[in-house]
């Protein structure tokens, strides 16, 4: 009987451990747009929210007839479930999710689906989706 309780406790603990938070890969990426990319916006510097540190620039390019977002000389405090958004507001209410942040540092490129109006979706956000916490933002110009 004692073994059954121990087994049930181990199973339950395994469930809880499975819910642990996973951070972004703490690696340095170096993805470059290259000569085929044409800047669509100027380079916009990130601003951090309280308790976080997000630096570097965001810039939109047209590359191979597709819009891409480049994070240049980028660095952020690590956190769980960080995503990159194009957003209508500084806080993500209406937004386009460009995917999980792939690295906490370096140069990264994210495909932008479709052709959103960048005068509407003018904010680039680094957002912890699972805990709904904004790490940093910039305004595309």
């Amino acid at each position: 009987m004692k073994n059954i309780f121990i087994g049930a406790a181990i199973a339950f603990a395994t469930l809880l451990i499975g819910c642990s938070k996973n951070g972004t890969a703490p690696v340095v990426l170096d993805e470059q747009v290259g000569n085929s990319g044409t800047p669509v916006t100027a380079a916009s510097a990130f601003m951090s929210t309280s308790g976080q540190s997000v630096t570097g620039n965001a810039r939109v390019y047209m590359k191979d007839n597709k819009l891409v977002l480049a994070l240049e000389n980028f660095s952020t405090t690590n956190g769980p479930d960080l995503h990159v958004y194009l957003s209508k507001e500084m806080y993500p209410v209406n937004f386009i999710d460009l995917g999980r942040l792939r690295a906490t540092s370096g140069n990264q490129i994210y495909d932008i689906p479709g052709t959103p109006d960048l005068s509407n979706f003018k904010y680039v956000l680094i957002h912890c989706q699972q805990f709904n916490h904004l790490f940093g933002y910039t305004i595309l110009k």
Partner: protein, 246 residues
Amino acid sequence: MKKNIIFLVLLVSTCGVVAQSPSPKTKKINKYADLAVTAGASQGSAALSYVHNWKIGKKEKWEIGIGARLTSYFGVKKDYVTAGPARLTRSHTVPFLIFFAGLETQNWDTLNIQRPFTNSLNASVNFGYHFSKKISAGFNIDLIGVTVGRKTSGILTGNGVTRIDPEVKPSAFNLLLTGDHDLGSLNSEFFLAYKLNNKWSLRAIYQFYFSEHKTTNLSQIAADGTLNNRFRNKINAFGIGISRQF
């Protein structure tokens, strides 16, 4: 006086004998408490229940009864879809037959709830059948109750638009009305039980659990103009349970 004493002694000892053997009424009742845990992809549950069943039939192989169950459900980034009204989500709404109705997915919006966590206290109904002294099977389902849980954020996607509602909360009232008519969070199980001894049993469980949450700041606007803020996740999971007979 001597005869009275002898009579009293005989009376007390008779009562003692009756108290030691179960009355016919007691044998017809099966009462137990149960702890069950289930696990699925990025979600799980734990349920504590009390069951009071009556054995029926000539051979008393069948059981039917009532109970109370406290189910805690937790998950990470789970997709919930439009919960109702049923005329939006299914091809017809006839009670019970709605289980077999077609899915009207074109009317479904998806709410990806980041960290759902709910505690539901429901009254339940239970059915069981004893194949042998050791092995039995059964089914139980929640009928009515209440749910409390934490607020969390949810990403609502519909008609190509994605929005965040930072205040998604569990629906408070639970009521079994069958299929997509259901309200709130309701647990149900099919199980196979093995009796270890007179007091303890182990159960293998297949769980079908409805979890429902509501948005606070956003609503789905269906094609016919209906506003909806209820979203449901239908969970199929396997688990184990341990029961203690009384």
